[in-house]
């Protein structure tokens, strides 16, 4: 996706995990997170709701995906730190706050809302992990049909 939106970003179909029974669900069902700011740099945490879901995050929520979600803000660098003992990841995005709290013209100069753009990302979840999701989508979503383009 090359447009400048922080709207849902889909993984390329080729990265879909093996097996027919998987669903494409909002990241928000797998994980939670929050934004912090320092200067013109934001960090966004992503914390699995359950340890079983953490490998899906590591596999699918890559720094490249995160850079794509925030492409309108032109991050100069995205670093991903893994914290397996906390089943968490920490993304650090440089130059993504329109100058930061003292210089930006934006409404949310801290970037408080930014984590929710990431939580709108869609990721693949195998059916056997469906019971670990929060607010899991209905069973009808679990199908072998390819996602809509």
């Amino acid at each position: 996706m090359s447009s400048a939106s922080m709207s849902p970003v889909s993984l390329p179909i080729g990265t879909r995990p093996a097996g027919p029974d998987s669903a494409h669900v909002p990241l928000r069902c797998l994980a939670h997170g929050r934004t912090g700011d320092k200067g013109n740099r934001a960090n966004i945490s992503l914390i699995a709701w359950h340890p079983d879901l953490y490998p899906l995050l590591v596999e699918q929520v890559t720094p490249e995906m995160v850079a794509e979600v925030y492409c309108a803000r032109r991050p100069s660098h995205v670093e991903r730190y893994l914290l397996p003992r906390l089943q968490a990841m920490n993304f650090v995005l440089d130059d993504v706050l329109d100058g930061g709290v003292n210089d930006a013209l934006n409404l949310d100069s801290h970037g408080k809302a930014l984590a929710f753009a990431l939580l709108d990302l869609r990721v693949w979840v195998p059916r056997q992990l469906g019971h670990r999701l929060r607010n899991a989508p209905s069973n009808a979503l679990w199908s072998s049909a390819p996602p809509k383009a």
């Binding site: 939106s5 069902c29 997170g33 309108a72 003292n102 409404l107 607010n135």
Partner: protein, 462 residues
Amino acid sequence: MTNPTAPILHVGCAAGFSGDRTDVARAVVDTLLARGGPACLIFETLAERTLALAQLARGADPSAGYEPLLDEMLRPVLADCLMHSVPIVGNFGAANPIGAAHRVHALAAELGLAPPRVAVVLGDDLGGPTHRALLQAALGADRLEALDIACATAYLGAEGIAQALRQGAQVVVTGRVADPCLTVGPAMAHFGWREDDWDRLARATMAGHLLECGAQVTGGYYADPGFKDVPGLAHVGFPIAEIDAEGHCVIGKADGTGGCVDEHTVKEQLLYELHDPAAYLTPDVVADITKATVEAVGPDRVRLSGVRGHPRPAMLKALVFHRTGWLAEGEISYAGPGAEARARLAGQVLKERWGDAGALRLDLIGVRSLFADDGGHTWATLPPGDARDVRLRAATSQPQREAAQRLTREVTALYTCGPAGGGGVRTALRERLGSVACFVPRDLVPAQVLFVDPDASAGGCA
């Protein structure tokens, strides 16, 4: 000397920023007293920009420049804290710690209390002429010369706070210290840790990190209906850390309050404003949470363990605030059929009239605003929609007040000269401060501890 048999220290937090709720300290103190044993109450009121604003306030009125809500924060709990030997530690001194100390004395006198032992920690202010060379070395002469500096402060460590408490302070007032130091200082004083006891200092630092934003670890900045439901958010309780002689902590909250403390609230706050988890830099220690674990140990009680420490940095972080001009904002709303098209037209009108007079940001609140960008990329590429309740927001930053003010007039004029049905214009104009981070050698920025006597003119009751 480290005292391994010292009892657990309870540290309660009653403010996470300037402007936090002032009715929360009572429940925290009641809980500390009910638990018994050594305890401390902290107030964290200095975000990055708060201190610069306080400096400006002090410039306008030499008696001002400390936390404006100081009285409201302390009045409900000062008597109990003094009576039960619960020291109060706060960075509410902001740009004028001595002024705040005098205010604490005056408040104690008003409440009919014996004069407390009030200490201030000084040394963070780098705004004086003696620090010019220091800033020049940190930033370079040319860069420094180009800045219209409003103030400069270094982030001091915990040692000044610890020293004040060891000398018997009942209230410790600081300016800029790194936020976790408000917790590390009391723990150092209580347990007798050395300044190079890296693991223990790092553990207490992360306990302080969990406390320093107040309700952000107890359900605030967390609730998300259906996904993260928080009971009693309207009366969210503030956090209390139980710190042991090894520095390990259990995070809980004030009794009889709303909110929640679970593994997820703690993980979110643990990673808040953190960059490299192996190297969380503070003036006291470099904390490493890569091996840290959190574990629920009871209702609203979560243990943090596994934090390790590495030697502290040789340099202290400092922030230089400089005047960058004026920020102007204006908003106008459109609703009903065609609302988004009318809001967009209003934006086009503004852009056409603004010309090349400097950066102009436009947002369509109700369509895309928080996720848009200053560069205008979102505005240019967002396909037209049919939103029915849209607020156009415009913002600019200009070196001169008059130039910025022009935007507020342009937005206001949209009432009669813009698209149909525009209403609810609001405008704002304020001076801005930019910040530049730099690093200064810690040896050149020593903390000084000073005990402040009651000001006779304040009418003490000694």
